[in-house]
């Protein structure tokens, strides 16, 4: 089956990102395809490389980056939600005249159209939120 995953909450404050991660991992290990993981709303906060969670706890952002690398996952952060929350890549930094960028490895910033497209192309879109 071809899945798309939507993550609507940021790391740690809500379970959503953890649940989405475990779901994605399980789907992949059972041979399914996960064609995109889309981060919307506070979910975009999963895409910053600047977190320093405590050493004895899971590193949610890095875990997504590693899963993406191992499985060639498409992690997409919504541009509109990212602009509101300050998740920035090099292009956005230039476009909006910011003095820094903070996007994590494996994540890319793109439009909401990527979410709708995922809904159309996937057999199932599974969302994780509050």
């Amino acid at each position: 089956m071809k899945f798309a995953v939507l993550v609507n909450e940021g790391p740690y404050a809500h379970q959503a990102s953890d649940s989405a991660y475990y779901f994605t991992q399980a789907a992949l290990s059972q041979g399914h395809e996960v064609m995109r993981v889309f981060f919307y709303h506070d979910g975009v906060n999963n895409g910053t490389r600047l977190t320093t969670p405590p050493q004895d706890d899971r590193n949610i952002t890095n875990r997504w980056s590693e899963l993406a690398k191992q499985n060639d996952l498409d992690l997409v952060v919504c541009v509109a939600a990212a602009q509101r929350r300050g998740i920035v890549d090099e292009d956005e930094q230039k476009r909006n005249s910011k003095d820094a960028n903070n996007i994590a490895e494996g994540f890319r910033i793109s439009g909401l159209g990527q979410l709708v497209e995922a809904g159309i192309q996937a057999d199932r879109l599974v969302s994780f939120g509050d």
């Binding site: 979410l115 809904g119 159309i120 192309q121």
Partner: protein
């Protein structure tokens, strides 16, 4: 299956956007509406549902000047221009909040199959009918 470069062309799915939160206090309502508008540009079959506090999103005469947030309620009026024709509002949610259909914005769309006649977009339905609507949808997004 061949890898088509434009895999969305021709496919029409029933998209349902479920709104359960009030328009202000959180920005789920505003960001949910943004997805609905973008979705309409993909020529899908888009329906909106309003349940629980989500029914407040459609309340008439919203004025946010005292709370300083953006009053995006006029955007619901634009949905008709984006080919959205159905907005289902749950009766039980209205009842529990002391609201009736008269409290809601009179959203309309122009029916291209009926000489562009203006028709109401909002349908007030029971919780049981709402379950049917959700069940019949292909893609359900929940805000």
């Amino acid at each position: 299956m061949s890898e088509d470069t434009n895999q969305t062309s021709g496919t029409v799915k029933k998209f349902l956007y479920v709104n359960r939160r009030a328009p202000h206090g959180t920005n789920y309502a505003q960001e949910g509406l943004e997805v609905a508008l973008i979705g309409a540009a993909f020529e899908q079959d888009v329906t909106l549902a309003f349940i629980d506090d989500g029914v407040f999103q459609l309340k008439k005469d919203q004025d946010t000047s005292d709370i300083g947030t953006k009053n995006f309620s006029a955007t619901y009026g634009a949905l008709g221009d984006y080919d959205v024709q159905k907005a289902y509002v749950e009766q039980e949610s209205l009842d529990a909040r002391g609201l009736t259909g008269d409290d809601l914005m009179p959203l309309v769309y122009e029916d291209e199959d009926d000489d562009w006649e203006e028709k109401p977009m909002i349908h007030i339905i029971s919780a049981e009918e709402m379950r049917e609507i959700i069940d019949q949808s292909d893609v359900v997004l929940n805000f």
